[in-house]
């Protein structure tokens, strides 16, 4: 093929079930291509105030590392090493920035995260990433067994 193979895959997670099944698909692809995997969690900007840096650490440390650790665990089962990344800011923007800075080849994410209501529609973060990413984006809907 003319295109370069996948070398770096970004798995976006927010700790939801949907994100987990998306990660599952991403790991399958990574296992088959031998790509490097980044599990990225973005803590919302509102979660922590800059006045109290200790609250920032606590919030990210708990929810974020739990979400990322789950994916690391899944990666271990699949035999794929996972790099954990914790970021803070506007989720879509941070994901896009990270992808650009690190030469990510493909972003993998679920359709609906924590704010989701309708199964068949796109989440806000996913929609933004699909629209603005300069890389390939895989939107995952299939459940992970």
């Amino acid at each position: 093929m003319k295109r370069r193979p996948y070398r770096k895959i970004l798995l976006a997670t927010d700790g939801s079930e949907n994100a987990k099944s998306a990660a599952c698909s991403g790991l399958e692809i990574a296992r088959n291509t031998g790509a490097e995997v980044y599990a990225v969690y973005v803590a919302g900007i509102s979660c922590c105030s800059p006045i109290m840096p200790e609250s920032y650490d606590w919030e990210i440390g708990k929810k974020g590392s739990e979400a990322v650790a789950e994916i690391e665990e899944m990666g271990r089962e699949a035999g794929v090493p996972v790099n954990a990344v914790l970021l803070q800011g506007h989720p879509a923007q941070e994901i896009l920035n990270f992808a650009e800075k690190n030469d990510i080849d493909m972003v993998v994410m679920g359709t609906q995260g924590k704010a989701g209501v309708d199964k068949f529609l796109l989440g806000r973060v996913t929609e933004k990433v699909v629209r603005h990413a300069k890389t390939e984006v895989l939107v995952v809907r299939s459940p992970c067994l």
Binding site: E28, T33, L121, V130, V139, R141, S142, C144, L145
Partner: protein
Amino acid sequence: MERDFFKKILIATDGSTAAENAADFGIEIAGLSGAKVYAVYVIDITSFDSILMDEPLTKDMSERFEKKGLEATSYVEENAKAAGLEAEAVMLKGNPAKEILDFVEKQKIDMIVVGSIGKSGIERLALGSVSGKVVRNAKVSVLVVREIFDFTKFFSRSQKKAKISAPVILEKEQ
């Protein structure tokens, strides 16, 4: 992780270079799991359905579209077969996004591969209208293959104009 990995992959094409890019990428992914590839081209009849046209003209139009569709799907089919995959070319008629989604449901497809911009160009800069509809409304996974929009190509027209206008200014100075 003993899940049936993507077994049936639909590659939507409209004959544009963006779609060909997407197809190459989709075939690569299909190769990972040895999936069956469906190359789908949809003849968009929505635009000329509303206009009253005499029969020979409609016939001529659909013949042309069919030829174009055959070209587009055979590109995908050939490449998929060259990669050692099972491939099938499919041609549909109707509203592109709707037909693609209907086909996906009927054939129990696992994954759709679309290019980010197709024929309608920069209608929405980042995501084409058909791709957008497919991503939003599909019930299966969708891989959006990015076509980086070539701004130099887009602005080349205005650059040409500038070149033409340059000697005019010189004449004025003389």
